[in-house]
């Protein structure tokens, strides 16, 4: 048994230490926001946040997570009360098929925690590891700017939730 801390809660999982985090999230914890795209760390759809940094969960074995905090898209907000990043992506209709969007949102969240007002160039450079085949890149770009704005003007309820 290994303990892994996801979205603020400790979970006991029965998995080998070399199991990729993505499998644990999806198969053991039922957290299906992070997607399996390439399994090689080359497409970005499996991105989650570990201790504030965007991390590719398909190439991150469990043993690297000891004592660390994992945040998935489910940990940001709910359908009823979406987090600023989620609200922004909905309002800009940034998803088409949506497969890459969870990863995009997680890296956006990590970026905005570090850099509250990124420039276009900074956003492009940051999201470069993420592939989107539908081609909603311009909407994604707008959504990140909107998320930055929403985070700065976020209401108290959102603040409380993200502080959990």
């Amino acid at each position: 048994m290994t303990t892994v801390k996801v979205n603020g809660r400790d979970h006991q999982v029965d998995a080998e230490p070399d199991t990729p985090l993505l499998y644990v999230l999806r198969d053991d914890l039922g957290l299906n926001a992070a997607k399996f795209g390439c399994g090689l760390g080359q497409c970005g759809s499996c991105t989650v946040i570990v201790d504030g940094n965007a991390v590719l969960s398909c190439v991150t074995p469990l043993l690297l997570l000891e004592g660390k905090q994992v945040t998935t898209l489910e940990g940001l907000g709910t359908i009823e009360t979406p987090a600023p990043v989620q609200r922004a992506f909905i309002e800009e209709q940034a998803a088409q098929c949506g497969y890459c969007i969870a990863g995009m949102m997680m890296r956006t969240q990590a970026l905005l925690q570090r850099n509250a007002k990124p420039t276009d160039d900074e956003i492009r450079a940051e999201l470069a590891p993420h592939l989107c085949r539908c081609g909603t890149h311009m909407r994604i770009l707008r959504a990140v700017h909107r998320a930055a704005h929403l985070m700065q003007t976020a209401d108290a309820s959102t603040d409380q939730r993200s502080a959990q």
Partner: protein, 453 residues
């Protein structure tokens, strides 16, 4: 006259004579400025040739910063003596070389002196450019003078006294600057001699791949024995090469031309920029470089050949690892690395089998640490290698555990020392490097400019 007086005046005379001699050695006249020549005054064929030569010389690597304008300079080059900033070599009249006549450009290439007569620091590798022909200097000049002028004032170097005094460079040149070190060898093929001309001259391979002495000059007795570039090890590329499979002219050509070779892996770090540039030059020149360098490393010794055969056999039918299978390093490798590095997908998309990795057989873990932390960013619009970086998901100790495992499993070399320290250092410097350098992903930005003047 008393004895003391005689000695005093003799001493004074010596000091004056010394000063005059030093002045004669160090002083170079300014070459009068001219109005910037118009782009139309250059022959387009010559300009295009100059473009290829500039790519062979990797001028853009040092004279362009990440996100900066082409050739506008400003890249910090760390040296053991202090930081030196590259200069603006666009034809801007005020801050670039716009007012330099051609002979001033040639003098800079040939002897490291700028138009004003100031000595240039040998971070500008004129100790190699002495070998560049007049004709090639002319083409380079034509190319640079037809670029977009950029107004960018040079940044002040950060050097301690007395190294900030440029007269010191005159002394360095007396000691180390050799002219005409390249001579064609009539016993060798034209291709070999062309390669020698490029490698020893414009391409200045030794600037990174030859170790330097305490005064920062290449050690002539240790040609291509391995040096350093931007916090990466520049491997030995002579007979001491740590590559598990010895290089051949064909393998070198594939690697230099396309950025990867199945038996050696992909170019990354500063070498990614070099191969980016070499993808734009005439294939014959790359072939010549490969032929010459294969001659430099010579035929491999019997034990290296046997080792190479073993490695290639192992790559074809890998044995399951038994030892250390339960170590942290092994588990990290299994989950984070093997999915690509044992996928048997061809390069550059699949990872090279690590038994073929020069980084893991190299005397120090520096490059392996760099690559695990930063990965390889793909090149826009090109068939290029890609690897995620693990800086965000692995601690220094975890990267060290992985590297120690890889070293023991995939090389036949003794364990590295101070691995965790190297990883910490790599983490610190890579961050700086990625922020300032033009970066591999920017290197082939001129691809769509190929064949244009």
């Amino acid at each position: 006259m008393s004895k003391a007086r005689v000695f005093a005046s003799l001493g004074a005379a010596l000091v004056i004579a010394g000063a005059v001699a030093a002045f004669a050695i160090a002083w170079r006249p300014a070459i009068p400025a001219t109005d910037p020549p118009s782009a139309q005054s250059f022959d387009p064929v010559q300009v295009k040739h100059g473009r290829e030569l500039a790519a062979l010389g990797n001028c853009n690597t040092c004279h362009t910063t990440r996100g900066g304008k082409d050739f506008a300079g400003g890249l910090p080059v760390p040296t053991p003596f202090g930081t030196i900033y590259s200069s603006n070599i666009t034809p801007d009249a005020d801050t670039g070389i716009g007012r330099w006549p051609e002979d001033a450009f040639r003098r800079a290439m040939r002897s490291g002196v700028d138009r004003d007569g100031r000595h240039l620091y040998p971070t500008f590798p004129y100790d190699h450019f002495t070998n560049v022909s007049d004709e090639d200097d002319r083409a380079l000049y034509a190319y640079l003078m037809t670029r977009q002028p950029v107004h960018a004032v040079a940044r002040a170097n950060q050097l301690p006294f007395p190294l900030d005094q440029r007269v010191v460079i005159a002394g360095w040149k007396l000691l180390f600057l050799r002219r005409d070190t390249y001579r064609p060898d009539p016993a060798r093929s034209a291709e070999f001699n062309r390669g020698a001309y490029l490698v020893e001259g414009l391409a200045h391979c030794g600037a990174c791949h030859t170790p330097r002495n305490a005064l920062g000059a290449e050690r002539a007795s240790a040609s291509f024995a391995g040096g350093e570039a931007d916090n990466w090890s520049a491997y030995a590329i002579n007979a001491q090469s740590p590559a598990p499979v010895p290089w051949t002219a064909d393998a070198l050509f594939a690697y230099l031309r396309h950025g990867f070779d199945p038996d050696h892996g992909t170019a990354r770090g500063p070498m990614a920029q070099v191969v980016g540039n070499l993808s734009e030059v005439p294939g014959g020149d790359v072939r010549a470089i490969a032929t010459y360098m294969a001659g430099v490393s010579g035929a491999p010794a019997e034990d290296r050949k046997r080792r190479a055969e073993d490695v290639l056999a192992q790559v074809k039918s890998p044995a399951a690892p038994e030892s250390q299978a339960n170590s942290a390093g092994a588990a990290i490798y299994a989950a984070a690395c093997a999915s690509c590095h044992e996928s048997k997908r061809p390069l550059p998309y699949g990872g090279v089998n690590l038994a073929l990795s020069t980084a893991l057989s190299s005397p120090d873990p520096r490059n392996a640490a760099n690559i695990v932390l930063s990965g390889v960013r793909p090149v826009e619009g090109e068939r290029s290698p890609i690897m995620p970086g693990f800086a965000s998901s692995m601690s220094d100790a975890q990267v060290a555990a992985l590297l120690n495992y890889l070293r023991s499993r995939f090389s036949n070399q003794p364990a590295w020392a101070h691995v965790e320290q190297t990883v910490a250092e790599a983490r610190r410097t890579q961050t700086v490097f990625l922020e300032t350098s033009a970066g591999a992903q920017d290197a082939p930005a001129a691809v769509n400019q190929r064949d244009k003047p």
